[in-house]
């Protein structure tokens, strides 16, 4: 499978968007890592270096947006959301300003940098903000299209992506629709809902389950908020059970969003694959994914437990 880093395609999309004079990109001294440097190369005047000062970055973003600019503010997810959550709340989300907080280095696959740099709570805290749209594209192609889509959308957005090269599973050039999930594989026995790089694990898990005679439906939930409840409910009306998978804490993320939806529409057996309320640590990404229960095998195991629970009823 072809692999690519999401941030690389984010940079490509920004370079394309540089032709729009209203777009301004802010950096907190990580532009080479987040690839906003691609925009700087294309539109130097509209690339503003803020320095290592994320709180100020969000306020400056608000002021620029209040002047009619479409603003992208990027850094690592821990700093883009946690360091300046209240600035995003007051200055951007409350007045519904047109700022895109786009973060790289999400999740445990950040690897060697360890827990200080592994954002596992960002979906939870951004999802709680009124007016905020939250995206978590599955791969590089989808990241490119999502970047174009949020630039066209007028309002605050948060988009997360990983650091490493992930397999490309979505086709090139498919227009991204905010709030619309994609059914990647149809099935009848269980619904696997993934976001970010865990979508690949859901696809792989579906293949393994199929060999065991279990028909799994796979959904790519690349918009966490607003959640595509219609697609979720349509799927579970067939399958009656759900596994969610995310490179994020099981508290407040995709699993929580889906659980909220299911609880309000007739509860059913569910399992959440994600980090079990803990911080990460340093290590090789694949070792970490294994240790923290974020592999294809973990999705398969959760699915099997659910099928058994469903059968017992």
């Amino acid at each position: 499978m072809v692999r690519a880093a999401q941030r690389k395609y984010y940079g490509k999309a920004l370079a394309k968007l540089a032709e729009r004079p209203d777009i301004v990109v802010l950096d907190a001294d990580l532009g080479d890592s987040t690839r906003t440097s691609e925009f700087a190369a294309a539109a130097k005047d509209r690339f503003i270096q803020i320095g290592i000062a994320e709180q100020n970055m969000m306020g400056v973003a608000a002021g620029l947006a209040a002047s009619g600019k479409t603003v992208f503010a990027s850094t690592f997810a821990v700093f883009a959301t946690g360091r300046c959550w209240e600035q995003i709340r007051q200055a951007i989300a409350y007045p519904r300003l047109n700022v895109k907080v786009v973060a790289t280095h999400c999740g445990i696959s950040v690897g060697g940098d360890g827990a200080s740099h592994q954002a596992l709570e960002d979906i939870a805290i951004m999802r709680a903000l009124p007016n905020m749209t939250v995206l978590s594209p599955a791969d590089a192609n989808e990241t490119y299209e999502a970047t174009i889509a949020i630039a066209e959308y007028n309002g605050p957005c948060y988009m997360r992506m990983g650091r490493a090269d992930f397999p490309i599973i979505t086709p090139e050039g498919v227009k991204f629709t905010i709030g619309k999930a994609t059914v990647l594989h149809e099935g009848n026995d269980i619904t696997l809902i993934g976001t970010g790089q865990m979508v690949v694990s859901c696809m792989e898990a579906a293949n393994i389950l199929e060999e065991a005679g279990i028909s799994a439906e796979v959904i790519n939930m690349s918009t966490i908020k607003p959640l595509d409840t219609e697609t979720v409910l349509r799927s579970v009306s067939k399958t009656k059970c759900v596994v969610t998978a995310e490179e994020h804490s099981i508290i407040g993320g995709l699993g929580s969003a889906v659980a909220e939806c299911l609880s309000e529409n007739g509860p059913m057996p569910m399992e959440r694959v994600g980090v079990k309320d803990s911080f990460g640590e340093s290590g090789d990404p694949s070792e970490l994914m294994k240790k923290y229960g974020l592999t294809t095998d973990d999705v398969v195991a959760a699915a099997e437990r659910l099928i058994e629970r469903k059968g017992r009823k």
Partner: protein, 283 residues
């Protein structure tokens, strides 16, 4: 000239009228916060002259056309003194003066702290201290990018300078030579828990602002002529004006009384306050 048409009819009061307008703002503040049963009259009174000078002399704005692209921009970083800002906006003609008494009430456009999109004339949402200057820098940067001569003014509390984000913003303002930006520090020396210098000292303030790349000056924040002069710009750097003020200024029993930072007048206090101001300014 189109710009002249848009200067706003309220602009251009003389010093005496500006002083009187400051007192009008004070009366509104007393009545609004009394009616609301809460709010921050102390800091609103200390900044009354600044609001008068900005909205009736210095700012290029048009209350009939709040979104006029040629307007100057004002950011109230110390958002808790929204009553004084609202009074200045209403007296300028942005909305009916009668609406001032809806402050803090359900359904009102006059939120407890300024909220962009709710009320005409509010550029950004403030109230969480320490954030306004960053937003003002964003407004200044946008004007620079668009090659517009917009001027941006930001009123800050002295207590809020304890917040680190301000200093991040100051570094940015001087790095990008935002000479279209002027900040006013309402140096009334009091915050909720008492004196700023007992709470967490911010002195030597002017030296700090200078070290962060600002052209600085210290003025009497109740002297309208000094405020007008401070707004004249001749610098390549951003400007910081320390306004020495008295919290609760203009009402004898409220002056320098930290009690009135965050509480409104009782009925008898309101009557005494209004009487005192009225007698002085013949409103």
């Amino acid at each position: 000239m189109t710009e002249m048409v848009h200067m706003g009819t309220a602009n251009g009061l003389d010093a005496k009228e500006l002083k009187r307008m400051a007192d009008k703002i004070r009366m509104h503040v007393i009545e609004m916060t009394f009616e609301a049963g809460s709010g921050h009259p102390g800091g609103s009174l200390s900044a009354a002259e600044l609001f008068s000078v900005l909205y009736f002399k210095v700012l290029r704005h048009d209350p009939e056309d709040p979104e006029w692209p040629g307007r100057d921009k004002f950011v109230l970083s110390k958002g808790h003194v929204a009553p004084a800002l609202y009074a200045a906006l209403a007296e300028s003609g942005y909305f009916p003066v009668e609406e001032l008494l809806t402050l803090r009430k359900l359904g009102s456009r006059l939120q407890g702290h300024p909220a962009r999109g709710k009320l005409p004339g509010i550029e950004v949402s403030t109230g969480s201290l320490g954030q306004g200057l960053s937003m003002a820098c964003g407004l200044s940067l946008a004007a620079k990018l668009d090659k517009k001569d917009t001027r941006v003014y930001c009123l800050m509390g002295d207590g809020e300078l304890q917040s680190g984000q301000n200093w991040e913003a100051m570094m940015l303002a001087s790095h990008y030579k935002l000479n279209n930006l002027t900040i006013f520090v309402d140096r009334n020396r009091l915050q909720i828990m008492g004196k700023t210098e007992d709470t967490l000292s911010i002195e030597p303030l002017e030296a700090k602002l200078k070290a962060f790349g600002f052209r600085t000056m210290t003025i009497d924040g109740h002297n309208v002529k000094q405020i007008i002069k401070a707004c004249e710009r001749t610098s390549s750097s951003p400007t910081a004006v320390i306004m020495n003020t008295v919290k609760g200024k203009g009402v004898s029993f409220m002056e320098n009384n930290p009690d009135f930072h965050g509480r409104s007048c009782k009925p008898d206090e309101r009557d005494r306050a209004l009487k005192e101001i009225k007698e002085r300014s013949s409103w």
